[in-house]
Amino acid sequence: MFIYACKRFGVAVLVAITVSLLSFSLIYLSGDPAMALAGESATSEDIENIRRVYGYDQPIMVQYVDWLSRVVQGDFGRSHYLKREVAEVIFERLPTTMLLGACALGFAILLSIPLGVLAAIRPNTIIDRLALTLAVVGQALPSFWFALILIFWLGITWRLLPITGTASWQNFIMPAVALGYYVTPAIMRLTRAGMLEVLSSDYIRTARAKGLKPATVLFKHALRNAIIPVVSLAAVQFGFMLGGSIVIETIFAINGLGFLAWETIQRGDLPTMQAIVLVLACFYIVLTFLADMLNAFLDPRIRVA
């Protein structure tokens, strides 16, 4: 188990380095950063000055190592637009997005896993069909449109829930549902497929031959094995939701990282964009690592791999 954890950790670090390289090079993907900073009316002398001040005249590898060593210390530089430390802005916004993502994932899991299990133990029945319908609708419905429908009915017509802001827990219901519903179909279908496969396996027959109660067979013996691929998927989906929250946060005017990303892209605020990409990517990496560890806990065969 320890060796497995070390291996996975090593891979995670390598991926993180790669991602940092990519997010660093964002600066150069959109042209000469010094020219962008200086503005249209700047003379070539001004541009040269800016280049020297910001270190853009150094070789790229030197700049990268320089940037990375500052990032590791939590210094993402200064936003030219917000006139604030990028790290400060990000850590101000991050908790909101994390909370939204966690709520959305919680909603998705609470909806999709029971439905997937039900669909698997009663395949091709009305329950299965209903679950399938829900999945198809969820897959086909763009999340921004679903969010607008929610706002229209729950927020405006019936006035049940607040439609913007983050003032109370009620503000998170609609965004979490809108964001979570989009990942529900994948998790549900994977749970259903996994359960169907596991329920027809020999060890389930053994469990039944031992006279175990149906609930024990289902939850202890079947679900634990069926859930393994779902854990990996849920981790990826959670990362995806952090990124996908850009749309949802914009619609619901939630002051999170996604909203910040949208603002940043509009203004061309490169250091902030770099930092957001890096932070979200690192979350992805951490989640994948945690999912690997959870799977190793669930399935002892993974531990030796």
Binding site: A209, L212, N225
Partner: protein
């Protein structure tokens, strides 16, 4: 306590398939005494496994089971519902499956899977369950049992896993064990060990044992009584001696002809084979199922269903239109030829 630990009368299993109804088991009747080993033999697809699953009520959901009588220890288990059946399964009636590699849950330790059976059926503590598990693992020939308990199925070989399966079935001290081809998936060298182990344990704990196999060599070694199945029906039943010495049904004769018997089969002699293939069991079935492969088939064989009839000795019966005398003569002629 009934003398007969299991009594099966006219058991049928039907499975709907796209092209009609598959009559997998058709009116099978037999009984198993306390401390007796009954071997059910027959080729693949003849309904041996489904018969055993039907007894345990573990058939696939779409299969339907009927019987005139299905009694375990004198108590009807045919229509007692899933809950009461679950109380019997793994408790007084255990089953060992064909595939030891996949029959254990990969996610749980051996101890968890062994103890769970006992904790489910008996009022015992974890410590007691652990003791019982260690005792039985040693009983089935696993050394360093307490270390093995901490291991997961993937850390054990096929032979070890099958031993664990056997120990698991024994946890609650059952009076009947059904072993469905327990050695088919194992190395030849391990097969004999496992079978002898089963036979030993069966004697020691005085259990009834139904051993399903297509290995006639195994049958000859461990069986008290033998039931031969063909195409979903029993075709011959008797003590091991009766069936091996005086096979009466033409299919049994053909089957025994296919294996060399030390002291009986001459060195260099050709072994027999049964031409043709097993008939389809889908749709209406009439007459002798073996008729189109049988060397003695007559018109009357396909006209109507053939009844079971008594052979020479008590307890020996078979299914054929031919009289025991004719069958015996046929067997003799075959030996000379």
């Amino acid at each position: 306590m009934a003398d007969r630990i299991l009594e099966v009368n006219n058991l049928t299993v039907d499975i709907p398939v796209p092209s009609g109804m598959l009559h997998a088991v058709q009116g099978v009747s037999f009984s198993v005494g306390r401390g007796e080993t009954l071997c059910i033999v027959g080729e693949s697809g003849c309904g041996k496994s489904l018969t055993s699953l039907a007894i345990m009520d573990l058939l696939p959901a779409n299969a339907s089971r009927t019987a005139d009588k299905l009694e375990h220890d004198g108590v009807d288990i045919l229509n007692i519902g899933e809950n009461r059946m679950a109380n019997i399964r793994g408790n007084t009636m255990g089953m060992i499956f064909q595939e030891p590699m996949t029959s254990l849950n990969p996610a749980y330790t051996i101890s968890n899977q062994l103890e769970e059976a006992l904790l489910r059926h008996k009022k015992v503590g974890r410590g007691e369950a652990r003791e019982r598990a260690v005792f039985l693992l040693e009983k089935v020939g696993i050394t360093a049992a307490s270390n093995r308990l901490r291991q997961y199925p993937h850390q054990l070989s096929g032979g070890l896993r099958q031993r664990v399966m056997i120990a698991m079935t024994l946890m609650c001290g059952p009076d009947l064990i059904i072993a469905d081809e327990p050695t088919t998936a194992l190395d030849v060298t391990i097969q004999a060990q496992i079978l002898l182990l089963l036979a030993e344990l069966q004697k020691e704990f005085h259990m009834g044992l139904i051993l399903i196999t297509h290995d006639l060599g195994v049958v000859a070694r461990v069986a008290d009584r033998v039931a031969v199945m063909y195409a979903g029906q029993l075709v011959e039943q008797g003590t091991a001696t009766q069936v091996f010495e005086n096979p009466t049904n033409p299919y049994t004769q053909g089957l025994l002809d296919c294996i060399p018997i030390p002291g009986k089969t001459a060195r260099g002699a050709h072994l027999g084979s049964i031409p043709g293939i097993v008939p389809s069991l889908i749709g209406d079935l009439n007459g002798c199922r073996f008729a189109d492969r049988c060397p003695y088939a007559k018109d009357e064989c396909v006209a109507k269903d053939i009844e079971f009839r008594a052979a020479f000795e008590a307890g020996h019966s078979y299914r054929c239109v031919l009289s025991p005398e004719v069958c015996a003569k046929n067997a003799q002629r075959k030996l000379i030829a």
